[in-house]
């Protein structure tokens, strides 16, 4: 039961800590998309981020994923306040600590499944290595894709592509996985399989997961549900027991 308690209020160093985060867009006409968001994500916690379209979910995800910078407030990742980091340091931290899973998988079509999984590691190390290759093969094997290593994304089904994208997100052992509607582009069966995969990895790897979803069934199966409306978190709760 304690596993399903909201971790945002727990003690210890969170993987992600947001304090009073705002994000404005526009110069002449300023639009405040996020209005003082506080959020904590603990290791091993599987959090759903829900809310209507335009509520600021993608903006929040970009800020947590260090793809964007807050207008004000603090964004800390693994205890590092990211405000003072330059672009290169931010990129390195992102590559080391965060894995992304997108709705449309976003695999690079010019590379094979194995190469797609290895790419973040090659970018980090500067060149490929046998250890990296073995790790990527292992991750694809865990995704049930060991027989598709040399396939290019165009030769894979939607579900298979998303599995490769998950393997890519996990290959470097990140402490945080950000998933933007990971099952949104899949049919029900493939979506369920992919979600189960994410949940299993969450248990095995103890990484923090933040999953943006419109699917209530998925939200109900997370540890915590954070609801964002008009740029503010309006509720944080554990989903009702199944």
């Amino acid at each position: 039961m304690a596993e399903r308690m909201p971790a945002g209020t727990g003690s210890g160093q969170p993987v992600v800590l947001l304090e009073g985060v705002t994000r404005d867009y526009g110069r002449d006409v300023v639009t405040r998309v996020l209005k003082g968001v506080d959020l904590r994500l603990a290791a091993g916690e599987f959090t759903a981020l829900v809310g209507p379209s335009g509520s600021g979910k993608s903006t929040l995800l970009n800020l947590v994923g260090l793809l964007d910078r807050a207008t004000s407030g603090r964004v800390c990742l693994e205890g590092v306040d990211t405000a003072g980091l330059d672009d290169t340091a931010l990129t390195r931290l992102r590559g080391r600590s965060i894995g992304f899973v997108f709705q449309f998988h976003h695999l690079l079509p010019a590379f094979t499944a194995l190469e797609n999984v290895m790419l973040p590691g090659i970018a980090r190390d500067g060149r490929p290595s046998d250890a990296l290759r073995r790790k990527a093969e292992e991750m694809l094997d865990r995704m049930g894709m060991s027989d598709r290593l040399r396939y290019k994304p165009g030769q894979l089904s939607g579900g298979q592509q998303q599995r490769v994208a998950i393997a890519r997100a996990l290959c470097l052992g990140p402490r945080l996985i950000l998933a933007d509607e990971p099952t949104g582009n899949l049919d029900t069966a493939a979506g369920a399989q992919v979600f189960e995969l994410l949940r299993r990895i969450n248990r095995e790897e103890r990484a923090a997961f933040l999953v943006v979803t419109h699917d209530q069934h998925i939200a109900d199966r997370c540890d915590r549900v954070v609801e964002l409306v008009d740029g503010s978190i309006v509720s944080e709760h554990a989903p009702p027991p199944a």
Binding site: T91, E115, I122
Partner: protein, 421 residues
């Protein structure tokens, strides 16, 4: 393989149409530049070679004699000459008449020492004494005005490669031997072994045996030169023990003018380079080089714009992928280098193909028309310097034209690129 090379090579392989388009652009540009340069430098070399085949690079002479005062007197205002100059009666003017004297043949003072001095000038490789003057050659009824040239054969052959240009006989001017050109030999109807009489303005004459007939591929020279020994020419031209000029050869022909100035400063004599003597030729060569450089510059600009525009489109097409690479920890610097490497690789590959195109074109063109002796009418000059130069150019153009697209790619906002492509 480093990350940047890995990604750059893969993108080039996958983007076949763009890659082929850019390669076509670069290789055509390199091919045109190689062909044009090879042709123009070939033609220029041929022209210079034929000009310098019968000419020293630098000729040193005694300074011209100064004008001298011929008449000095007072002019009264009533003189007709004074009226013509608007002088009023009573005015006086000084009338002076300066006349440039006819240049007589004069010797260079202490010429052995001067020759040694010229040899010391940097860039001078060989020097040769010369006694040159006008003369008449007669043979039977035939008589021709000629340029008599007394030479030291051992030194002179290092200035002009005479043995290489002998049409008959040998290049030898010992005692009363003479070597003449093919034109003069035809005019006089003489052959090797025949005798000719050489007569100078001072009524000095001598009989010479023709030891050789040369062809320097220059009609004026072939028709007029009579080469004899230094001593014979000194006797005929009344220049006992003296010489009228020193001819020099330099290591790099286009430095001849600078070297001539250095020689003039050092010796106090008049030194003329082949460049000054053949001013028109040089203007022609320079104009040819300028127009060739201009065409090449336009080709380079066109190629650079072509590469840049295709790469810019490429970057736009790959916006989302670049955003994803950035999301997974690829730094701006790495993205920048991926595209710069693509530019470099395209430049290098385009150069390889372009060298092939340029070389084949050059040989085809050279083979289109030939002279009677089998040499090409349009000689081409393919040198390693040309290939190296175009390699540097291709790499530079590739790198430079990739800079703007690469900067654009590196500057992409990853969140924006992923969501909006």
């Amino acid at each position: 393989m480093p990350f940047e090379w890995f990604v750059a090579l893969r993108y080039l392989r996958e983007g076949r149409i763009q890659t082929v388009l850019i390669l076509l652009g670069v290789s055509t540009g390199v091919g045109v530049i190689i062909f044009l340069s090879a042709l123009i430098t070939g033609l220029q070399s041929r022209l210079i070679e034929s000009t310098l085949g019968s000419q020293a690079h630098v000729v040193v002479r005694p300074p011209e004699e100064m004008p001298r005062l011929l008449h000095e007197g007072r002019v009264e205002g009533t003189d007709p000459a004074a009226v013509a100059r608007n002088l009023a009666p009573g005015d006086e003017a000084l009338a002076v008449r300066l006349e440039k004297p006819a240049q007589r043949l004069r010797s260079i003072n202490q010429w052995p020492q001067v020759m040694r001095d010229i040899e010391q000038v940097r860039g001078v490789t060989d020097v040769s004494p010369l006694v040159a003057g006008s003369a008449f050659v007669t043979r039977g009824e035939a008589s021709r005005s000629v340029a008599l040239r007394g030479i030291d054969p051992e030194r002179f052959r290092r200035i002009i490669d005479m043995p290489e240009h002998m049409a008959a006989g040998t290049f030898r001017v010992q005692g009363t031997e003479a070597v003449i050109g093919t034109g003069l030999a035809t005019d006089l109807g003489v052959r090797v072994g025949d005798r000719i009489r050489v007569l100078t303005a001072g009524d000095r004459a001598d009989i010479f045996t023709i030891s050789g007939i040369f062809d320097l591929e220059n009609k004026g020279v072939n028709d007029s030169w009579v080469l004899v020994s230094l001593k014979s020419a000194q006797n005929l031209l009344d220049l006992a023990g003296g010489i009228s000029a020193i001819e020099a050869r330099v290591d790099r022909i286009f430095t001849a003018e600078t070297i001539a100035r250095a020689v003039a400063r050092r010796t106090g004599l008049v030194a003329e380079s082949w460049m000054a003597i053949n001013g028109q030729l040089l203007v022609g060569l320079r104009s040819q080089s300028s127009s060739s450089t201009m065409i090449q510059a336009f080709v380079v600009v066109a190629v650079a714009l072509g590469i840049a525009s295709v790469l810019v489109v490429w970057v736009v097409q790959k916006n989302r992928e670049i955003g994803i690479l950035r999301a997974f920890g690829t730094t701006r610097g790495q993205v920048l280098r991926v595209f710069l490497i693509q530019g470099l690789l395209l430049g290098a590959a385009g150069w390889v193909v372009g060298v092939g195109i340029g070389t084949v074109l050059s040989y085809i063109f050279a083979g289109l028309a030939t002279n009677p002796d089998g040499t090409p009418t349009f000689p081409v000059n393919l040198s390693w310097q040309l290939f190296a130069g175009t390699l540097v150019m291709a790499l530079g153009v590739g790198l430079l034209s990739a800079t703007a697209p690469a900067r654009r790619a590196a500057g992409l906002d990853p969140a924006e690129a992923i969501h909006h492509g």
